[in-house]
Every structure is written in C-alpha cells, then in structure tokens.
C-alpha cells in the first residue's frame, strides 16, 4: 500500500513530534546526573554514592532511614511510617525526571541528614548509584 504522505511531510511531522517530546527527554535521570557531574567537575562514583546513602552524617537519620537500604524497594518515612515509593528510576519511572522536584527534595533531605546542602559531587554520586540499580 502506498503511503499517503510525501516524505518531506513525514519528516516535518517527525520533527514536530521530537520537539514536542523533547522537554520530557531533557529531564531524563541521566541528563540531570550529567548536570550535577558537570557542576562538580570531578568523576562520579556509584560506590561512593552507596556509602553516602547508607551512612549517617552527624545527625540521627541517613538517606536509608526513609528510603531503605535497597532503593529498588519501597521505603518508609522514619517518623510517620508512611510508605515511600522506590527511589530507583528503573523501578519508579518518575524518579529524577523533574529537575525542580529533585532540587527541592535534595534541599530538604540533605538538611535533615547532614544539616547542610549536599554538594553537586555528593548528589552526582548518589544519583549515579541509584540510576545503575536494576530491579
């Protein structure tokens, strides 16, 4: 069967589709990670990220206190007990897909766990570990 659309028209339609979908792509976890890594200016390390995630940093809670030591599984809020969806993007597709949301939670949670903001390098390390986790 012959295609009803001229090839150039099809190319144009494809271009429109790509532009329309691009904002979602631009917030892919790997791109957010690249942003933090570029800001940090050092190589990221998933191993360092895992240690950081599971360690306490002078306060009562670690990241794992709420998110669990296996972030491909659901966590539980350390004080309220409310279930928290898995952090690993391989399990929970919306994780690390919205830059503003990611920044908001790093700001709040780093303050709870470390009593300060996390550095770009710390964020990149943790994200690289989480992104690499398989279900």
């Amino acid at each position: 069967m012959r295609n009803r659309f001229h090839p150039s028209l099809r190319a144009a339609a494809l271009a429109v589709l790509v532009v329309a979908v691009a904002p979602a792509w631009s917030a892919a976890p790997s791109e957010l990670l690249q942003g933090y890594a570029a800001q940090a200016g050092t190589a990221t390390s998933p191993q360092r990220g895992e240690q950081f995630f599971n360690a306490t940093h002078g306060k009562e809670w670690s990241c794992a206190s709420c998110h669990g030591t296996v972030p491909t599984q659901a966590g539980k809020h350390a004080s309220t007990g409310k279930p928290i969806g898995a952090l690993a993007p391989s399990v929970h597709a919306q994780r690390f897909s919205d830059a503003a949301k990611v920044e908001k939670w790093f700001r709040r949670n780093c303050n709870d766990v470390l009593g300060r903001d996390c550095s770009a390098a710390e964020k990149a390390d943790v994200m690289s570990w989480l992104i690499g986790l398989k279900p």
Binding site: H77, T80, G81, K82, R108, D112
Partner: protein
C-alpha cells in the same frame, strides 16, 4: 380509661420522635467525615509525600498559620517550600480550618494528636497498639482509619491492626 380518638396519634408521634432521635443520633455518631472540602492538589502533592494530607478542619487557623510559618523546622524535618506555594497552602488551610467548638483549643505543639478531642476519641486504644510497627505514630491515621485519605474517619471503616 378507654382509648380515645387521639390514642392512635400518640402512638404515631411516639414512633416518629423515636425515629427522629435515632436518625439524628446515628448521624452525629457517624458523621466523622472531617474533610468534605476537596483537597487542593498542591496540598496533597506537597504534604502527603510524608504523611496523610490531614483534613484542614482538624486544626484551628492559628495552629495552621504557625505550622506553615515554620516549615523549615517541621516536627524534626525540613519541609520547606517556595514562598508563593507556602502562601497559597496557608491561605487554603486557614480558610478551611476548624471554626467549631473544638477550635477554641490550640493543641500543644499544634499537633492534632494532642487535642483534647483527639485524646478522648482514642482513649480506648490500648498502649500496645500505638507501639505496633504498623502504627508507629498517632499521626499515622491510615494505620487504622482505612478511608482516612478520603477524609472519612467513621467507626465502620476502622480496622485496628494486630
């Protein structure tokens, strides 16, 4: 005494009064639907990540105001939001806050669970139940109130975990 023509009516009135009392009493006992106010989507999104989106009618406006003015130090966690969103949520919470008799009390620490009415409503819950892993905190309404997320705290929807 012979039954006059009104005796039958008296009987009817007695039944009607009993029925009216029964209905109003049942409605009072069963009207624990705290939030008939549809929740603001931003309220659910921002607050219900960590805890139930508590119905605004469970605290007086003054308590909500203090809570919203202190989000960076929110019961041991940083729950800060940007100023515009903080204002929007504050306005909504205060507009739908409790204004009834209970609102005369501002519970200590602005905690719903410290309010006199809350303590009274839960005085039959054994101490051991509060300590269960599935309960953990009196703020964990959903542990027993199965429809709490819909603002429904009615007796019939309570399932206490063992």
């Amino acid at each position: 005494m012979s039954a006059g023509p009104l005796a039958g009516w008296r009987h009817v009135w007695a039944c009607v009064s009993v029925a009216i009392f029964g209905l109003t009493h049942a409605a009072w006992a069963d009207d624990k639907r705290a939030s008939l106010v549809p929740p603001l989507p931003e309220y659910t999104q921002e607050c219900a990540s960590c805890h139930l989106a508590f119905p605004p009618g469970l605290l007086p406006a003054a308590s909500w105001r203090r809570i919203m003015d202190n989000l960076p130090r929110h019961y041991g966690t940083d729950a800060s939001l940007d100023p515009a969103l903080t204002r929007k949520l504050s306005t909504w919470l205060e507009a739908h806050a409790d204004t009834g008799k209970r609102a005369r009390e501002q519970p200590s620490d602005d905690r719903i669970t410290r309010a006199v009415w809350f303590v009274h409503e839960h005085d039959e819950v054994p101490a051991a139940t509060w300590k269960l892993q599935a309960v953990k905190s009196p703020a964990n309404c959903s542990a027993c109130h199965t429809q709490a997320e819909q603002g429904d705290f009615r007796e019939r929807n309570i399932r206490i975990p063992r």
